[in-house]
Symmetry: C2
């Protein structure tokens, strides 16, 4: 169970961090107790709170399972092609989380909450789910369309919609299943391991509440005018760029036993997501990719601090791979061959003073827990 | 992919039936195309639109998967014990659907959409998920808490929340897996089969938009006063009674090879849900249980037709089992032993005039497609 807080800035939202942690702790306590309901088939192997969990299926096979929505990015979508785009996000957010525990995604079921049946909306969402499913090599074997208009906010007289997905994948839990990639628990991550960053396509699906607030604030930027800093694209188009689906980039690497030590989907919390990979080791980033213009425009419009920007947005890095220094070359070559140029961000370190921390040296930020502070 | 229309009455909502069917057809067309993305592991075995789908896991095992929310029933919940109750519904709606394709439920992931982190709300929902998971013998291995207040309706200044679940189960797809119940495809349902109805605990999670409208209309019933026709319970308490979880009642029967021919979760559409069991056979109901007082109160308050009532509410029957006439006695004895007294509703018939129809003889209603009409 995770709280996706990327929709808010800690500094600006008044979120009471310790209170939230206490709430999450109570939730996890109850959900952890349900693990005892399964002793054989279906037993959960991981703690709740990671990118996904894995259920025992017997015979060395595990079922990876996760759930995620698209969030307030949906509020920016107003045309069929934009609805199609956010449906791709629904697939991406879920399958990218499955990759983080080493699984091969196989399917996603979707839940659409809406007011009245709108044929154009539904067909656009279905088209987007299909596009995403094709990119992720999964099926969408079912779903639910729920007419729950009374539960949805209204904008200009129309109810908004919501789109949530839950995805499953398969993973080998021991060496007997050579047809599946092996489960990634983070145990093989070691000091000296290299941290590779894969480029994001934009904001992905995170930080939209903050971005919308920043852009509609005093700056009042028009989302629908071509923007000279975005090569003539509109802000809306740049913001709605679908989240990259990393299956083709990462799955072939996962299939090679032991090549990858860890994978982190950079979603809620930006590079703080690295913290999910280890409780004891730290991550030292010595090089960051150039910050894409879209993030700069948001930061300037909202007069946002670097602390908030890096704790909310992916800032150009959508997915991280951790591997041994010896494997970095092979992995980079594979990625470059697919047109995905990774950035060598830094390395895993043993930091006894701040275990589990994320240092962003170029930005002079230290991430501990769920916030970045100036170093 | 199914449309849950129980939140609306066809007669009163202005829903344009053929237009909806066209929309759903286009959606299913796109989602059906994604099946080709999986040829071996993960291949869907059933058409979208049933209670759940089944994905091939190899070695005679299938993964059942479904998704469902709680819907507008949530809008009636205002206290921790009421929030706990709707979380039980989230488990029930999903696992009851898995039973319909013969699967043993193993896990559910939950998605909570809310505005601000409310510790009391989250802990109550987690408690309810635990209660439901214990009753269903499943784990809740993960979930998501999404702070998406801008997408949620507001009531009296507070944003509502939403709760959606996705559940998985295991099923034998051939005779080699004797440790799992066999997949139910409806193929073994035959004319002469007996239809057994299991009692519901109330409205379950369906028809709440119509019920709320009826109760808040001209009749303006106070939901929080003890009601003499509800044995002194309040209407709110009766409405929020959690959906029955039928795992203990039905799963042992599913484990006996061939004993059960079909299972239908009576949710959206009331007994019209039987239509999902067969495209060609019909269902003749000759006996209906006494209509519980709660449904009568709603019908009177909203001056609703029998057609709308039976097409929206379960009217006292929460789950249906179809079996051979020879097996009905054994199944009834098992259920009575668990304190669940089934009603023998009627039988499966070959009706060449109205194939796929549902006749409710005691109510003089004929169900064809997705509506009931007077006979």
């Amino acid at each position: 169970m995770t709280i996706d807080r990327t929709k808010l800035s800690y500094a600006s939202s008044g979120v009471d961090e310790p209170r939230e942690q206490a709430a999450l702790g109570r939730v996890l306590h109850h959900l952890r107790a349900t693990y005892n309901n399964r002793t054989g088939l279906g037993r959960p192997r991981l703690e709740s709170g990671g990118f996904a969990n894995v259920l025992d299926l017997g015979a060395g096979m595990g079922l990876a399972i996760t759930t995620d929505g698209v969030g307030t990015k949906i509020l920016l979508s107003r045309t069929p092609s934009e609805w199609e785009s956010v449906a791709v996000d629904c697939i991406a957010n879920n399958v990218n989380d499955l990759l983080c525990i080493g699984a091969e995604p196989i399917a996603l079921v979707d839940y659409i909450a809406l007011d009245v049946i709108d044929q154009d909306l539904l067909e656009a969402l279905a088209r987007g789910l299909r596009v995403g499913a094709d990119l992720a090599h999964i099926s969408v074997p079912g779903g639910e369309i729920a007419q729950v208009g009374d539960m949805l906010a209204r904008e200009e007289g129309h109810a908004v919609f919501d789109l949530i997905g839950s995805a499953v994948g398969l993973v080998a839990t021991d060496d007997s299943r050579t047809d599946l990639p092996s489960i990634l628990t983070g145990e093989s991550i070691s000091p000296g391991d290299v941290i590779l960053g894969l480029p994001s396509s934009g904001l992905h699906s995170n930080g939209f509440s903050l971005a919308r607030k920043a852009l509609s604030g005093t700056a009042r930027l028009n989302l629908d005018e071509p923007h000279d800093r975005l090569a003539g694209r509109t802000l809306r188009a740049a913001l709605l760029e679908p989240t990259t689906i990393y299956v083709d980039a990462v799955l072939p690497l996962l299939r090679k036993r032991g090549l990858i030590h860890g994978v982190a989907n950079i979603s809620g919390g930006g590079l703080l997501s690295l913290g999910r990979l280890s409780d004891t080791l730290s991550f030292e980033i010595v090089s960051l990719p150039q910050i894409p213009e879209l993030f700069r425009i948001i930061q300037e419009a909202g007069d946002l601090s670097n602390e908030d920007m890096y704790a909310t947005f992916n800032m150009g890095v959508g997915m991280v791979i951790v591997c041994s220094a010896n494997s970095a070359q092979e992995i980079s070559a594979h990625l470059v061959g697919l047109g995905v140029t990774p950035v060598q961000l830094g390395s895993v370190v043993q930091d006894n003073v701040a275990p589990g921390s994320i240092r962003l040296n170029p930005a002079r930020l230290l991430g501990v827990g769920e916030v970045f502070r100036s170093m």
